[in-house]
């Protein structure tokens, strides 16, 4: 089994890994719907969205790895970063690693994430890092499409049958406590703001609440009350679920190092 790599703790690298890992792990979760969605159109939609997210993750991990070298460390490529890091070195928000749940969980999470990523990409389009700005210029178009698609489903389910409304309410209660982590800043956000790499994520909170709130209102869903619970995936302390995602995602490269097809 190849040794795990150690990644630079430089805040700029960490900032990019937070975004890249959020896209990567979420894509992995969406991919689980392949062959399982309730209708074939949604099967295709969910895997198409996963594909966009994988593309975004590849670009960001590639940039994070080249930045490591520019900062005087060892360079890593996208595959090393995806397949040879241990769980504690992943920097995704916890909410994306939660099990895919039912269709209501998937659509509410898709909608919340797409709005967040859209707001983030819009700001990253002005990043001081030209490569990050270029990645964002493409990704924002994809996130808008994901947002529109997921929002339509949230409304159909929330304002749908008694069963779909009850499932949507339960899904929102489940996910809500995990959204808070996304918008809590730390030194990584401070450094990104100072260097011009990207915004503090807390700066996106108001716009996210307004846009997601508008979808929830149309879906006749109430935003749950805030809780003290905070997840900590962005600093590497994950839920019990990420290990299982990584076991499946990394098994081929761990078993057959450098394998290609």
């Amino acid at each position: 089994m190849p040794a795990s790599i150690t990644v630079s703790s430089h805040p700029s690298v960490q900032y990019l890994l937070r975004i890249g890992d959020t896209c990567l792990i979420y894509a992995q979760r969406l991919g689980e719907w392949s062959g399982h969605a309730p209708i074939v159109e949604e099967d295709i939609a969910l895997t198409n969205m996963a594909l966009d997210l994988i593309g975004q993750a590849r670009a960001l991990l590639t940039r994070a790895g080249s930045l490591e070298a520019e900062l005087g460390g060892e360079a890593h490529d996208e595959d090393q970063l995806a397949f040879l890091r241990d769980e504690r070195d992943f920097r995704n928000c916890t909410v994306v690693e939660l099990p895919r749940g039912d269709f209501a969980v998937t659509m509410l999470r898709n909608c919340a994430l797409a709005i967040f990523l859209k707001l983030l990409w819009e700001r990253l389009a002005d990043s001081s890092d030209a490569e990050v700005a270029a990645i964002a210029g493409k990704a924002v178009k994809e996130a808008r499409y994901h947002h529109e698609h997921a929002a339509g489903w949230v409304v159909r389910l929330g304002d749908g049958s008694a069963e779909s409304a009850a499932r949507s309410k339960a899904a929102l209660e489940l996910l809500w406590p995990y959204f808070a982590e996304i918008f809590e800043d730390d030194v990584v956000d401070d450094a990104a703001l100072a260097s011009g790499l990207g915004p503090r994520w807390s700066a996106l909170a108001d716009a996210w609440r307004a846009e997601f709130g508008a979808v929830l209102a149309a879906a006749k869903l109430e935003p749950p009350v805030a809780r003290a619970f905070r997840s900590t995936g962005k600093s590497g302390k994950h839920s019990e679920h990420l290990g299982f995602v990584l076991a499946e995602m990394q098994t081929l490269q761990r078993t057959y190092p450098g394998g290609v097809w």
């Binding site: 966009d52 700005a133 529109e148």
Partner: protein, 183 residues
């Protein structure tokens, strides 16, 4: 490695360079997208430039249509193979992300070929206006069926067989068709 500078002079005349680039563009106009094999990579608008670098390599700047488009690597390999086969190599691809590709870059000839192939071409993208958020009951712009030209059509699915397409149906002739998404 021995570099045969006589066979491949480092300094080329302006005319040689310009002719090689012109010939490269001509070859590229015959390289089709692997997923939509009726439109060339030039008509699709993903070839952003052809240059010759200081060691005489042909550098083709290519931009992806979608971040995760799985055809990207195949397209790059096809471009290199076609240029090498035409004797215009050595060739390398330069990935150029910015400015981001838009369906507005598909040429008029490319749009006509898409329609003939049964794919409704994308309408113009209004970049100044934020995309309106519609919930259910979407009412996208009326889209003409590529077969019978009726605008009595409806969208079946927002996503299709490839990242760049959505699935539609014509209510007049009853045929399903693909729509190249405007982005």
């Amino acid at each position: 490695m021995v570099i045969d500078t006589a066979a491949r002079p480092l300094v080329r005349s302006e005319a040689d360079t310009s002719e090689r680039r012109e010939r490269a563009w001509h070859v590229l106009r015959g390289v089709n997208d692997p997923e939509v094999p009726v439109i060339s990579v030039v008509d699709l608008g993903i070839v952003r430039g052809v240059d010759i670098d200081h060691v005489g390599e042909l550098v083709v700047a290519v931009t992806p249509t979608y971040s995760g488009c799985p055809a990207t690597e195949a397209i790059e390999a096809t471009i290199v193979a076609a240029l090498d086969a035409a004797g215009l190599g050595p060739t390398r691809i330069r990935m150029q992300r910015a400015p981001a590709w838009t369906s507005d870059w598909i040429s008029a000839a490319g749009r006509a070929r898409l329609r003939d192939y049964g794919i409704a071409p994308p309408g113009p993208v209004d970049r100044e206006r934020a995309m309106p958020l519609r919930f259910v009951a979407r009412a996208p712009e009326p889209l003409a069926c590529p077969r019978c030209a009726s605008t009595n059509t409806e969208r079946l699915a927002a996503f299709g067989a490839t990242a760049c397409k959505a699935l539609w149906r014509c209510l007049a002739c009853g045929e399903p068709f693909e729509h190249f998404k405007p982005i």
